[in-house]
């Protein structure tokens, strides 16, 4: 379970988060929606301890994460398209992260095959395409079977096939009981993957609820229309 309690974050005089409050229940998948610059990435980074909130508290399974490193043992994080040490190979990158986490289970070889990464593992990361690097990213987040998955625009830059594979993986994890927090601008994707959606606008959570409530509440046929209607209503 993840709880954001009045999380505020200021960068200089710019207030990115202004008391964001949100709960992701255990075993639920929540899609975090918001326009560019609403603070989605900052909220996620605060959850991971990359960013220190100016005020407010974040709790994972009931325990505050401030000054704690151990809770990240159960977290898998897939950042937005990222650049990694370009002279290392994918295999070396996996080995390093596994080593750091003290992973005892063998590498999830089947997942490598499902993501079709096998042929790319021994090339330096710099020669890999953006999509392949993104899949390596996904592999890093998924291979430890984390109870808590945090994904920042996971399918951005993926071809339709890889995107579908990744979504299947996420649905499997969801079925297996993982708690998932995911940001995306692709509403159809969230409709497919999520139980709940939350709308972040100007650093505040303006709406949280199950997906079907959003659509029925706004009397719109699909999530995209519904969120658009919500945003217009909130801004107005």
């Amino acid at each position: 379970m993840i709880q954001f309690d009045g999380v505020t974050k200021r960068f200089g005089d710019r207030e990115v988060l202004r008391g964001a409050t949100l709960t992701v229940e255990r075993g639920r998948t929540l899609g975090l929606i918001g326009p560019n610059g609403a603070g989605k990435t900052t909220l996620i980074k605060s959850l991971l301890g990359l960013c220190h909130p100016t005020a407010g508290e974040i709790r994972v399974n009931g325990r505050s994460i401030a000054g704690d490193d151990s809770y990240r043992t159960s977290v898998g994080y897939m950042p937005q398209i990222a650049r990694f040490p370009e002279n290392l190979t994918g295999a070396e990158l996996f080995a390093t992260v596994r080593d750091l986490r003290g992973a005892s289970k063998p590498m999830d070889e089947a997942l490598i095959d499902r993501l079709r990464l096998r042929d790319h593992l021994d090339s330096p990361l710099r020669v890999l395409s953006g999509g392949t690097r993104q899949k390596i990213n996904a592999m890093l987040a998924l291979q430890f079977d984390p109870a808590l998955l945090v994904l920042d625009e996971p399918t951005a830059g993926l071809d339709p096939l890889s995107s579908a594979t990744l979504k299947d993986e996420l649905l499997d994890r969801r079925a297996a009981g993982a708690t998932v927090l995911i940001t995306s601008h692709i509403m159809s994707e969230l409709e497919e993957l999520c139980d709940d959606v939350a709308l972040l606008l100007d650093g505040v959570i303006r709406f949280v609820g199950p997906i079907d409530t959003v659509t029925s509440l706004t009397r719109q046929g699909n999530l995209e229309r519904a969120i658009a209607a919500l945003m217009i209503r909130e801004v107005a």
Binding site: G49, R72, L100
Partner: protein, 259 residues
């Protein structure tokens, strides 16, 4: 050193060792050392010329490399921060992952031509030691600059500015001050001014051991006179603390930073 530190340092070090700039950096010193040994007549002369080059190039190269490195590894740093490890360990791993290969590149480049001639030790040993120390110092200063400056371009400019000031302009400024205040007893303030600059300390240490008093400059002469025979030891100790100070500062910046 905790195992986490060494694991990160190993991964980063492997990346750095395969990078083009480190090869260029080592090759530069290798060619320079080899050329000077061949054409300058004596080993001692070669060491003096190499020292002059190293005092300019090491601060410049390590400052630029470490700032670029911090900006370049930002995404990877964020990924590692999301793992269950302590921030302080991550900092130490990243720093050593850069500084150790850079030191190794310098030692190999300068050391090899001397080693094959069986001339390793003595004066060139001092150069290797001072060069390694300066690499640690200016790498840490580069970390400080890049961690404190969000904007990459401004960070690089600041690093260049630090180099210009510390390695190029400093001795000139000191001389100007000496000329301006020549009517006053300025030995002590002058010593303080010298201890405040690691590049200057490196220069003093080299010149005290290289029998090159003609090249010593004003500051070196003052230094030796003030500390008697202990000038070299004092300079070394202060240079050592110059490794610690920016490292502690960078470590703190890293722990508190919002990524």
């Amino acid at each position: 050193m905790t195992t986490v530190v060494s694991k990160i340092a190993r991964a980063q070090g492997r990346d750095v060792l395969r990078s083009r700039w480190l090869i260029v950096y080592s090759a530069f010193f290798l060619l320079l050392a080899e050329g000077l040994l061949r054409f300058s007549g004596s080993d001692a002369m070669a060491v003096i010329s190499l020292s002059m080059a190293a005092l300019m190039v090491i601060p410049l190269a390590t400052l630029m490399l470490s700032t670029m490195y911090v900006y370049g590894t930002r995404d990877f740093t964020e990924l590692l921060l999301a793992q269950p490890i302590r921030r302080g360990d991550l900092y130490a791993g990243l720093y050593l992952g850069l500084a150790l290969p850079t030191v190794a590149g310098f030692l190999a480049g300068v050391g090899l031509p001397f080693a094959v001639r069986g001339a390793l030790g003595g004066q060139v040993g001092v150069l290797l030691g001072v060069g390694a120390a300066l690499t640690f110092v200016f790498s840490a200063i580069g970390f400080c600059i890049a961690l404190a400056t969000e904007d990459r371009l401004r960070g690089m400019a600041a690093a260049l500015g630090v180099w210009l000031f510390a390695a190029v302009l400093y001795d000139g400024i000191v001389l100007t001050l000496v000329a301006l205040f020549s009517d006053y007893p300025i030995e002590r303030p002058l010593l303080a001014v010298m201890l405040a600059n690691p590049a200057e300390l490196g220069r003093v240490m080299l010149l005290l051991r290289l029998d090159a008093s003609a090249l010593m400059g004003y500051t070196g002469a003052v230094f030796e006179r003030f500390f008697g025979g202990y000038g070299f030891v004092v300079a070394g100790a202060v240079l050592g603390s110059w490794i610690v100070l920016p490292s502690v500062r960078a470590h703190r910046l890293f722990r508190l930073k919002d990524f």
